[in-house]
C-alpha cells in the first residue's frame, strides 16, 4: 500500500481512539472455513435477534399481576379476569400490528439460541476444541448455555398463561422441596405463597436486564478469546499447530458472516410468520386449580422434566423433617452433577491424558474413540431423559402403556449410555482402521484382477498426497506412564496410588485406539504394492514383518518404535 492519508473522519477517530492500530491486526484476520464453525455464529445471531425483538415486546408488555378485566379484541376471552401480564400479551398478539410476528420470532429465536449453543458445544466437544489453551472459553460458553436455559424458562413464564403458570408451579414445588431452606427460599422468590403477585415483575427484571447483561458480558469475553487464540482448524495439508489457514475477515468473512446473520434473521422471521408457537390465547389465564393434559415445556427443559418424571416416589421423614428424594435426586442432584461434569470435562481429560500442550488442530472424532464414546454416552443419557419428559405423549401416540414406558426408561438411563459408549467407541476404532487401510493400500477401485496363476485380487489406486497427509496429521497415542516406584535416591514417589489410578484411566482412555502407521510401514506397504501390477490384499498381513498398519499397535511397540527413531 502506498502511503495514503486516512479519510478525515476516520483520522479524527483514530487521533482519539487509535483504531488504525487495532484494525491493522484484525481487518485481515484469517479465519478457517468449515460448515461446523457456523454453529456458534447461529447462537450469537439468535441472541442479537432476541435482543432486538425483546426490546420491541417490552414496549407493550406489562409485567404486572394486577387483575383486570380483558377488553381486547380476542372475543373468546373478553370480560374474563386475568393479570395485566396476560392481557398485554394478548394485546401484543392481536392488537399491535407486527406484535404477534415479533413474539413468535422471539420465541423461535429463543429455541434456536439454546439449540445452537448445544450443537455448538457438541462440535467443540467431539473435535477436542476445548483443549489447551481454550479450556476457559469452554467454561464461559457453558455458562452462557446455562444462563440461556434459565433465561428461556423465565421468558416462558412471563405471559402468565395457564401453561407457563403450570411450569412455574412445578419449579416452585421443586424449590419448596429443597432441604433446609426450601420453604424460605420459595417464599423469598415468590414474595410469599405461590402464585402471589410478585413473580412476573421479578422474573421480568431478571429476564430483560440481569441475565441478558450477563450473557452479553460472557459473549464479549467469548469472542475476545476466539480472536486472541485464533480459530482452531481441521488438520490438513499446510495446516499446522503454528498457523491458521483460511480467508480474511475483510472482505470474505464480513460478507459471509454478516450475510449469515441476515440469513438466520430471515429464517427466524419466516418461522415467526408461518409457524405458530406458544398460542397463549388458547390456554387461558393462569388458574392454580387447572391444568391441561399433555402440557410440555420448551424443548430444552424436557430432560429435566424427564428426570423428575422417571424418579420413583421416595421420601424420608426423620427427626421431624421431610427429605424429598423424589425431587432432590432428579432436580437438585442429577442435573447439576451432569452439567458440572460437562463443564469440567476439559480438565478431567487433560488430567487423564497428561497432555499439557497447546492444540489448535482439531481432532477428527474417530481419532479419539473414548472421548467420542463418552460424548455419545452423554447424548444418550440426555436423550433418554428428554424422551422421559414426554412419556405421556409417547404412550398416547404409540398406544403403549405409560407405566411400561416409564419403567423401561428408568433402566435405560443407566444402561443406554454404557451401550452407546461401547458401540460408538468400536465404530470410531473401525473408522480408524479404515483410514489406515486407505493410507497403506489406497482406494478400493472395485476392479478385480486375475493373475496368470488364477489368483483374484482387487486393484487399489493410490490416494493423493494431500489426502494421505490429512489422514496422518494427528498425534501418536501414548498413554500416561506410571513411572518408577522410587527415584534415583530411593525415595518413594508421592501419591503412588493416585498416579497408578491415573495411568489406568489413561490406558483405558487410549485402549484399542489405532496408531497411525509409521513412515516405514507406509513405505513397506507401498513397496509391496509396487512389486505387482495391482495391489495384493490377500494373505498380506502374513507377509509384512513386524507391525503393519492395519494391526493395532500396542503401547509397548509404539514406545519401542519411538525410542528407535
Amino acid at each position: 500500500m502506498a502511503t495514503k492519508e486516512l479519510p478525515p473522519p476516520v483520522a479524527w477517530v483514530d487521533d482519539r481512539l487509535g483504531i488504525a492500530k487495532l484494525g491493522k491486526k484484525n481487518l485481515r484476520k484469517v479465519f478457517p472455513d468449515h460448515w461446523s464453525f457456523m454453529l456458534g455464529e447461529i447462537a450469537l445471531y439468535s441472541f442479537i435477534i432476541l435482543l432486538l425483538t425483546g426490546v420491541f415486546l417490552t414496549f407493550w408488555f406489562k409485567p404486572s399481576m394486577a387483575e383486570i378485566e380483558y377488553q381486547g379484541s380476542y372475543s373468546l376471552l373478553k370480560g374474563l379476569h386475568m393479570s395485566e401480564a396476560y392481557a398485554s400479551t394478548l394485546d401484543i398478539s392481536f392488537d399491535v400490528r407486527g406484535g404477534l410476528l415479533m413474539r413468535q420470532i422471539h420465541h423461535w429465536a429463543a429455541i434456536l439460541f439454546v439449540a445452537s449453543m448445544m450443537v455448538h458445544l457438541l462440535r467443540i466437544f467431539f473435535t477436542g476444541a476445548f483443549r489447551k489453551p481454550r479450556e476457559l472459553n469452554w467454561v464461559i460458553g457453558f455458562g452462557m448455555l446455562f444462563l440461556g436455559i434459565i433465561e428461556g424458562f423465565l421468558g416462558y413464564g412471563l405471559p402468565d398463561d395457564l401453561l407457563s403458570g403450570t411450569g412455574l408451579r412445578i419449579t416452585q414445588g421443586m424449590i419448596q422441596a429443597s432441604p433446609v431452606i426450601g420453604t424460605w427460599l420459595s417464599f423469598f422468590i415468590f414474595g410469599g405463597e405461590f402464585p402471589g403477585d410478585d413473580m412476573v415483575s421479578r422474573f421480568f427484571t431478571v429476564h430483560v436486564l440481569l441475565i441478558p447483561g450477563l450473557i452479553l458480558a460472557l459473549v464479549t469475553a467469548h469472542l475476545i478469546l476466539v480472536v486472541y487464540h485464533k480459530h482452531t482448524q481441521y488438520p490438513g495439508p499446510g495446516r499446522t499447530e503454528k498457523n491458521v489457514v483460511g480467508y480474511p475477515l475483510m472482505p470474505v468473512y464480513m460478507a459471509k458472516a454478516g450475510g449469515f446473520f441476515f440469513v438466520v434473521f430471515g429464517i427466524t422471521a419466516l418461522m415467526g410468520a408461518l409457524l405458530q408457537i406458544n398460542p397463549v390465547w388458547l390456554y387461558g389465564p393462569y388458574n392454580p386449580a387447572e391444568v391441561t393434559a399433555g402440557s410440555q415445556p420448551d424443548w430444552y427443559m424436557g430432560w429435566l422434566e424427564g428426570s423428575v418424571r422417571l424418579m420413583p416416589g421416595f421420601e424420608s421423614e426423620f427427626w421431624g423433617v421431610t427429605l424429598s428424594w423424589n425431587l432432590l435426586i432428579p432436580a437438585l442432584i442429577v442435573p447439576p452433577a451432569f452439567v458440572t461434569l460437562v463443564a469440567l470435562y476439559p480438565f478431567i481429560e487433560q488430567w487423564i491424558t497428561g497432555d499439557k500442550r497447546e492444540h489448535h488442530l482439531l481432532d477428527r472424532p474417530r481419532n479419539m474413540p473414548t472421548r467420542t464414546g463418552i460424548g455419545a454416552a452423554f447424548i444418550t443419557f440426555y436423550g433418554l431423559l428428554w424422551i422421559g419428559g414426554g412419556n405421556d405423549l409417547i404412550a398416547t401416540h404409540f398406544g403403549v402403556s405409560l407405566n411400561s414406558v416409564t419403567w423401561f426408561l428408568r433402566f435405560a438411563v443407566f444402561f443406554g449410555p454404557v451401550l452407546a459408549f461401547w458401540v460408538t467407541r468400536r465404530i470410531a476404532i473401525s473408522l480408524q482402521r479404515a483410514d489406515n487401510d486407505r493410507l497403506l493400500h489406497g482406494l478400493e477401485t472395485g476392479v478385480i484382477m486375475r493373475s496368470p496363476d488364477g489368483e483374484y485380487t482387487e486393484r487399489h489406486a493410490p490416494i493423493s498426497p494431500y489426502e494421505a497427509y490429512e489422514l496422518t496429521a494427528r498425534d501418536r497415542i501414548l498413554p500416561l506412564e506410571v513411572g518408577p516406584e522410587t527415584d534415583e535416591n530411593g525415595v518413594r514417589a508421592p501419591r503412588r496410588g493416585l498416579t497408578k489410578f491415573r495411568a489406568a484411566l489413561s490406558r483405558f482412555y487410549f485402549a484399542d485406539s489405532v496408531q497411525k502407521p509409521t513412515a516405514a510401514e507406509i513405505e513397506q506397504a507401498h513397496a509391496h504394492g509396487h512389486g505387482h501390477d495391482d495391489h495384493e490384499e490377500l494373505g498380506h498381513s502374513g507377509e509384512v514383518p513386524g507391525v503393519t498398519g492395519t494391526v493395532e499397535t500396542d503401547d509397548e511397540t509404539a514406545r519401542e518404535q519411538i525410542s528407535k527413531h
Binding site: G173, T183, G238, V263, P288, T322, Y469
Partner: protein, 352 residues
C-alpha cells in the same frame, strides 16, 4: 499475511528432532492444496452473471422491505388467510414473509458475492503462544512485588486484617437487605381455608353440592364456599388460597372403597373428597379413570387410587393426596367436618 503467503508451510519449523518428525509425520506436509479457479474467475460472463444474481437479490430485498410497509397499513389486523385446514393472521403473515424474505435475500446475496466474486485464495497467518514470554512474566512479577512492597500491604498486618474484615462484613448488609423479598413462611403451608362446616361448592358454578347430585363414578372439581368472596377483597389472596384449597369430590360404590383406619366416617355414602393439589410438585391433578378409580397428575404422571385412600400407585409422588373429611349439613349439602389434617401440596422440609 502477505499476498505471497499462499505457499506451503515451511517445513522444519517443528521443534522435534528429525527422527521424531519422521515418526510423527509419516507423510510429509505437501503444503496447502493449489488454488483452484472458479468459473467466475475464468469466464467474465459467468462473473457478470453472478453480479447480476447478487444485485437481483439485493433489489428484491429492497422491494420486499417496501412490501412489508404496505402490508402493515393495507391489511386489516384481523384478516385471516386460509390454506386448506391451516389458517393464520394475514397481517402477521404478509409482514413476516416480506421481512423474512428481505432479510434472507440480503444475507444470501452477500454470501453469493463472497463465494463467487471475492478473491478466494487461502491465506496463512502465524499463531503465537497464548501465554506470555518469560521476560514478560519476570516484568510483571517485579512490578507486582514493587507495588506490594510500596503499599506495605504484607508488612502492615493491622491494615490488612482490618480491611479484609471490613470487606467481609460488607457482605452482611448485602444479604440482609434482601430480607423483605418475602414474608416468613409461618404456618401458611399448613393451613387452608377449609374449616368445620364450610360447604363444598362446584368450582365453576359455585353451587353447593348435595350427595344426590353425584352418581357413582362421577368426579367433580370443587372449592370451599368461602373462597369466592375472597376474590372481591384481594385477587392475590384468592389465587393463593385457591392454589391450596382446590379439591376433587368423587363418588365410588361403597363396596369398592377400602377405607384407611381412622377415616371410617370421612365419606358420605361413598362420596370422598381429596385435595386436588398433587403431593409431588403441586400441579392440579385432573385425569380420572372411572373404572379403576385412578386419578393421574398430567404433569409427571403420579397416579393415585381414590378408592384406597388416594395412595400412590405409580409415578414420582411420595404421599397420598390429603383427604378432607366430609359430612352433610342440616340442609343436606356436603360440608367439611374440619380442615385438612395435614398440609396439602408438595412436601417441604419442616413438614415432618
Amino acid at each position: 499475511m502477505s499476498d505471497k503467503s499462499n505457499l506451503p508451510a515451511v517445513s522444519g519449523d517443528d521443534d522435534h528432532g528429525h527422527g521424531a518428525v519422521e515418526l510423527s509425520e509419516p507423510i510429509a506436509d505437501p503444503g496447502i492444496e493449489p488454488h483452484e479457479l472458479r468459473i467466475t474467475d475464468i469466464d467474465p460472463k459467468a462473473a457478470d452473471r453472478a453480479e447480476r444474481q447478487v444485485a437481483t437479490m439485493f433489489a428484491l430485498a429492497g422491494l420486499l422491505s417496501l412490501g412489508a410497509c404496505v402490508a402493515y397499513f393495507a391489511i386489516p389486523r384481523d384478516a385471516i388467510v386460509e390454506f386448506g385446514p391451516l389458517s393464520g393472521n394475514a397481517n402477521n403473515m404478509a409482514l413476516g414473509l416480506c421481512l423474512g424474505l428481505a432479510l434472507f435475500l440480503i444475507g444470501a446475496g452477500a454470501i453469493q458475492w463472497a463465494k463467487k466474486l471475492m478473491v478466494d485464495t487461502e491465506i496463512v497467518e502465524l499463531r503465537h503462544p497464548a501465554g506470555s514470554s518469560p521476560e514478560q512474566r519476570a516484568d510483571i512479577i517485579e512490578g507486582f512485588q514493587t507495588g506490594a512492597a510500596e503499599s506495605g500491604f504484607g508488612r502492615r498486618k493491622l491494615i490488612r486484617s482490618s480491611l479484609i474484615g471490613a470487606m467481609a462484613l460488607l457482605g452482611l448488609p448485602a444479604i440482609v437487605l434482601l430480607r423483605d423479598l418475602g414474608p416468613a413462611p409461618g404456618r401458611k403451608l399448613y393451613n387452608t381455608i377449609w374449616a368445620q362446616g364450610i360447604r363444598v361448592v362446584n368450582d365453576v358454578t359455585l353451587r353447593p353440592i348435595k350427595p344426590s347430585d353425584l352418581v357413582v363414578g362421577q368426579l367433580v372439581n370443587a372449592a370451599p364456599a368461602n373462597l369466592a368472596p375472597i376474590q372481591e377483597e384481594s385477587a392475590v389472596e384468592y389465587q393463593n388460597e385457591k392454589a391450596k384449597a382446590a379439591v376433587i369430590v368423587v363418588r365410588i360404590a361403597p363396596n369398592e372403597i377400602r377405607t384407611p383406619a381412622g377415616r371410617e366416617n370421612w365419606g358420605v355414602d361413598g362420596i370422598l373428597c381429596y385435595s386436588k393439589i398433587c403431593t409431588h410438585v403441586g400441579c392440579p391433578i385432573s385425569l380420572y379413570e372411572q373404572t379403576t378409580h385412578h386419578v393421574l397428575c398430567p404433569c409427571h404422571q403420579s397416579t393415585f387410587d381414590l378408592a384406597d385412600g388416594a395412595k400412590v400407585i405409580f409415578g414420582p409422588a411420595a404421599r397420598p393426596l390429603p383427604q378432607l373429611p366430609l359430612a352433610v349439613d342440616a340442609e343436606g349439602y356436603l360440608v367439611a367436618q374440619s380442615g385438612f389434617t395435614e398440609p396439602v401440596g408438595p412436601s417441604f422440609w419442616e413438614r415432618g
